[in-house]
């Protein structure tokens, strides 16, 4: 049993290192699903995935199959994808439209979009004198205890109590503000459909890797160098900005390992983190200038400068979301098992922005995030290798000691020190949050 093997979860996490079982033990996985993923705010989807009444989209929250559905009143509900009669999954497709109501494929029980029971076939003759009463809550499709939305991004918490969404997000809320503010219309909409990729490792390896400033020039050097060669050839004959999609790739190699210390991570309570930007995505080509003009018209010069001046590469919302706001990409992490993790990768369109700006972030989406990715292939290889090594008896610990003791702590925020952007502060911060959750701290 877990209790015998691992007497104290607190002892698994030290400030600068973590026990390997945290990544490989199936019982710890079950526990962290219950205490973390099925407790805190987890991203379900974006409201634009379900524009019309009856539109639904399924999403896994922790181990729970949930669905997000648009009601007739325009409200978005998050329900367990389960019929209360015999437990049949209510919808079998990943997404679709259920019409006026949900109708179970097994015995035709019907439910309103908010989950309330609408009708059971021959209810009066079949259930007279039984405990089954149309109004009893156990005969509804169970709703997520808490659902909140911020600027169109829908989150659910499967715990009744806990901090509200805004309090939970804290300063990581900039992920959604930065993405939406970059739209002249102040909001975004999904580009259907998401890419889905499975990695053969624990979910935490993904979250750590996303803000691991030390890895790109090592892991991704092959693609970076190949892209840089082609970028140079194109730059010779193309107009400014045309080689940008190659620059997105080549940055992985041209920013050499020592340069990554110039960036900074800022770490927040609940395990969230920001990695500052590095790609230089503001060329002065006609497309960008046309976009700037629309933005200035919408926001005024001063606010425009503030918006495009936000310097972010990634925002991590622990435990399951990675947002690249300046490129309008979002990856939602859905743990499938201790050694299998699904990521859903979404791209958003800035409402009111020119087509060329959409295409710029689309290029990144296709090149970096598609199932034929030139980048993540080598991450997935590392994740698998990590899982294999961590499962062995070759050692007990994972080290997060880089620049430990040198981070700058202020008002509950931990920043990497100047020229120490490769500090493993984000991993330490995530594991600190993990340990607190696992010991029952909200």
């Amino acid at each position: 049993m877990l209790q015998e093997r691992i007497p104290d979860l607190a002892k698994m996490v030290e400030p600068d290192r973590v026990r390997k079982e945290v990544y490989t033990d199936a019982e710890i996985f079950e526990l962290e699903m219950a205490r973390i993923h099925e407790t805190v705010w987890i991203y379900v989807g974006h409201e634009s995935q379900v524009p019309k009444a009856g539109d639904y989209y399924t999403a896994q929250v922790g181990r729970q199959p949930m669905l997000m559905v648009r009601g007739k009143d325009g409200k978005v509900h998050v329900l367990y994808n389960r019929c209360p009669h015999r437990g049949n999954m209510m919808v079998g497709d990943r997404h679709g439209n259920c019409g006026e109501q949900f109708r179970c494929s097994y015995h035709a029980w019907q439910f309103h979009h908010d989950g309330r029971l609408k009708q059971i076939p021959m209810m009066e003759s079949g259930y007279a004198g039984t405990r089954v009463d149309k109004d009893s809550p156990e005969l509804s499709m169970k709703p997520a205890p808490r659902v909140e939305s911020y600027r169109g991004f829908v989150f659910a918490s499967l715990a009744k109590d806990g901090p509200g969404l805004k309090e939970f997000l804290g300063k990581a809320i900039v992920a959604f503000d930065d993405m939406c503010d970059r739209a002249p219309a102040g909001e975004v909409e999904v580009v259907p459909n998401c890419f889905r990729v499975i990695q053969h490792s624990n979910w935490k390896l993904f979250m750590e890797n996303q803000i691991d400033a030390l890895h790109p020039s090592v892991t991704h050097q092959s693609t970076g160098r190949a892209a840089h060669e082609v970028e140079k050839q194109i730059a010779k004959k193309a107009k400014a900005g045309e080689a940008l999609s190659y620059h997105m790739l080549s940055a992985f190699a041209t920013v050499t390992i020592d340069k990554w210390d110039n960036f900074q991570t800022i770490n927040y309570p609940y395990g969230h983190c920001i990695l500052t930007g590095y790609m230089g995505l503001r060329p002065q080509d006609p497309d960008t200038l046309a976009y700037d003009k629309l933005m200035i018209k919408a926001y005024g010069k001063k606010r425009f400068e503030e918006i495009v001046g936000v310097n972010i590469h990634h925002v991590l919302v622990y435990p399951g979301l990675s947002v690249q706001s300046p490129l309008q990409q979002l990856r939602a992490v859905r743990p499938l098992g201790v050694d299998r993790t699904l990521t859903e990768i979404w791209h958003f369109r800035l409402k009111g922005a020119p087509e060329a700006i959409y295409r710029r972030s689309l290029a990144y989406y296709n090149l970096v995030n598609s199932p034929a990715t030139l980048i993540n292939a080598d991450d997935l290889e590392n994740f698998w290798k990590c899982h294999q090594g961590l499962s062995s008896d070759g050692g007990d610990w994972v080290s997060f000691a880089r620049h430990h003791g040198h981070d700058i702590e202020k008002d509950g925020e931990v920043s990497s020190a100047p020229n120490q952007g490769t500090s493993e502060a984000p991993m330490r911060n995530q594991m600190k949050a993990w340990a607190r959750y696992m010991q029952g701290g909200a």
Binding site: H200, T223, A226, A227, S370, L374, D378
Partner: protein, 158 residues
């Protein structure tokens, strides 16, 4: 009859080059403005401005080839290989100048490390009739398993 035979031979050779990992020779099958495209599902009408699993012109093909051949492309280290079978070749359109639109079915088995994966679907080739033989203006790959979650990723062209 001759067009049918020539198209089939061309498609078989295209698949041969992939299986033999002769990337440069494979890229050279494309016209200078040729595109390799794998849409996320069969409803897509164009690769332009849309999410795509692959949407590569020759420049991007060069990047992919450069990556695959780099000694530190970590995910290329394990032994791997593919085997394509191409069949059901149908000429949909034959222009007077000899250009063809050809549909076919493919099945690719991939071995990577200890894992076997299968990919299958439909090719649509827009072939340009040139002096040097057919060249690919567009290779559309509608993979039957395109919509399923990808257990690992596709590293080279299917």
């Amino acid at each position: 009859m001759k067009a049918q035979h020539d198209a089939e031979q061309f498609l078989y050779r295209q698949a041969d080059l992939l299986d033999a990992k002769r990337w440069k020779d494979w890229i050279d099958l494309f016209t200078p403005d040729g595109v390799y495209w794998m849409p996320p599902d069969a409803s897509y009408k164009t690769w332009d401005g849309q999410p795509a699993i692959f949407a590569e012109d020759r420049n991007l093909m060069q990047v992919r080839m450069g990556r695959v051949l780099h000694p530190d492309a970590w995910s290329q280290r394990p032994q791997w290989g593919t085997n394509h079978v191409v069949s059901n070749v149908v000429i949909d359109k034959a222009a007077k100048n000899g250009d063809l639109t050809v549909r076919s079915r493919f099945h690719m088995m991939e071995m990577r490390r200890d894992d076997i994966r299968h990919f299958a679907g439909q090719y649509t080739h827009h072939l340009k009739n040139t002096r040097a033989g057919y060249r690919i203006k567009l290779q559309r790959v509608d993979m039957t398993n395109a919509q399923a979650a990808y257990d690992y990723v596709l590293q080279v062209w299917v």
